[in-house]
Symmetry: C2
Subunit: 358 residues, 2 copies
């Protein structure tokens, strides 16, 4: 069952990949028809987008479509593939805001253009060039995600049904991102605030809304179906974010493609950190302040913080919460409103979202 | 005639203002329903967008609509007002990329959030917070411009007609912006390259495409009409950019709301600079390098560069080109394909675009 679902997901991933490659080739030709100086832009976006990524948002959208009992047709794959371009915008701008050097083991976009500036001995200040390129490539990815959806070949009815959800999802994404950077400026950590950020950044943006978009594309998106999809998507999205937070602290750099303890160096106030703080004494809090968020945090400091998080019980509690939330999600799948054809995918996706190491 | 046109333009500006204020109020309520921590986001965007700006893009779109001989109805104003949100994205991200401290005499968005960080004694590094806020507010403005167009109440046919032009305009904008920042990294200045940037950033994005969007909304956008609108819009847009470049060097800070000689301090390679370079001897080029692009450029350095530009004949040549291009645009207006009702507005807008001091 699971291996069949895995194969089905891989088939969709491949179809998404083909649509993305086609679209990017056309856009790349368009850009170079304006000026050959734009070649590095489409090259960088193609290399960022193709041959990598879990394609989670298109996969959830596809499952949302199946959940409504519809049979997937051509334009739908192209429409849901566009979510990967939106995600590219989010990641490119996120790496810039966080000052992250790498993404999936490769240089982040701002570092990539910064290096090109140095290598080609260009005029001006290389980091400023990197910043500007990352801002514009993220903007372009955002515009293109919209364009790809527009040119997918959807019917007027599908466009009419999907745009409101798509617009709301994008506002929720930016709102979640702002709350996240705002949280890093607060003097205290707060479980409620961090939980809300996890809900918006991941529960809604990564899972619930893609499912809704898929359902809307089918035209069979009753309020009841949308609400069952939320009952699956919201807890699963939260669990997804908590797995992400655990990987940001305990993940293996050779697998995640990010430096060890990256979130600790950044001082990211996640639910994991809020739970640790809650279980800490004042002296432990003082001690952790020496390391948490230190830009020069070394492996010794990382070990100390990892040990504090583990011994506070926060790590275990997070694993427990991930299990609980995943169980909630799986219970929702049993609803008779969800077409059987979607079951194997929704179950497999729940595993991928919560039991991953990257 | 001109005063009637002025009054008509002001009426459209007022209507655009009302639509923007309405939309922003609704979005602001939505954001604060997510979290009160998002209040600064909508406040900053409202203060950035309302009560300021020339509203050029909506005005050109309106004129494009009239050019087709259509009578403007409710949803059209809301649809064309959305162009101001796209422009807000462009300006917010532009100021961040250029490191500009001010916009229309007020702090730029990244500086605004940086100051809030300092004032509220928040944790972390204030400029990093300013950067992140500017990235996200620009993204949000881009998403909202799209949403405002989507919810304007257009018919399916109007949506179908306008989206391809809208998508192309946004790609052209980002392409023009990238070519602009790329140009600043080149060892040589180049008249052809700088002219192309002016054409994409202003000819197409500011004038031609808004005219086309207006025409498309009317449903009467024959290829012939679009091509006459291009014959007006492209030269006028180029002239608009050259006026901008002159103001960036010779503008009065009390009127432009930007520091004197801002473009000189930034080392912006405009057509004006390319013309100066072309008319300079090698020793003059060496001399100008001491000042051009120096971050600490003072009023003496600005005067020296201004004098070089003037005495090279480049300033005069630019004024000549602005006149020539404007004449070309005005000739295009005489086409019988353009409905008479649009004439006064197109003539007045040509004045506003090229004879302004801000």
């Amino acid at each position: 069952m699971s291996s069949q679902a895995k194969a089905a997901l891989q088939e969709i991933r491949d179809a998404v990949e083909i649509e993305l490659a086609d679209f990017l080739t056309a856009q790349s030709n368009y850009l170079t028809s304006i000026s050959s100086d734009l070649a590095p832009v489409s090259q960088a976006l193609s290399s960022f987008l193709l041959d990598s990524g879990k394609r989670l948002r298109p996969l959830f959208a596809y499952s949302g479509y199946l959940s409504a009992g519809a049979k997937v047709e051509g334009p739908v794959i192209k429409a849901i593939a566009s979510l990967e371009l939106l995600q590219a915008c989010a990641l490119i701008h996120d790496d810039l805001m966080d000052g992250s050097d790498t993404r999936r083991g490769k240089p982040s976009i701002h570092r990539h253009f910064e290096s090109m500036h140095v290598q080609d001995e260009l005029e001006g200040f290389a980091p400023a060039y990197g910043l500007a390129a990352a801002v514009l490539l993220g903007d372009l990815a955002l515009v293109w995600s919209n364009q790809m959806l527009n040119v997918a070949g959807l019917s007027s009815q599908q466009i009419h049904d999907v745009l409101p959800i798509h617009d709301e999802m994008r506002t929720e994404l930016m709102a979640g991102q702002f709350l996240d950077i705002h949280e890093q400026t607060q003097k205290t950590v707060d479980l409620d605030r961090s939980t809300k950020i996890a809900r918006y950044k991941s529960g809604k943006y990564t899972i619930e809304r893609p499912l809704h978009i898929g359902a809307a594309l089918s035209g069979k998106h009753t309020p009841e179906l949308l609400s069952v999809l939320s009952a699956y998507g919201l807890p699963l999205g939260e669990a997804f974010q908590y797995r992400d937070d655990l990987l940001g602290v305990f993940g293996d750099p050779s697998v995640t493609g990010k430096p060890a303890g990256d979130d600790l160096r950044e001082g990211k106030r996640t639910v994991l950190i809020a739970l640790t703080d809650k279980a800490s004494t004042q002296s432990m809090r003082e001690e952790s302040k020496k390391y948490f968020g230190a830009p020069d945090l070394d492996s010794r400091g990382i070990s100390i913080l990892q040990e504090m998080i583990t011994s506070s019980g926060a790590k275990e509690k997070m694993e427990f919460m991930i299990n609980e939330l995943t169980e909630q999600a799986l219970t929702a799948v049993e609803s008779e409103l969800i077409d059987e054809s979607a079951h194997p995918l929704l179950l497999e996706l729940a595993k991928i979202a919560t039991k991953r190491s990257t």
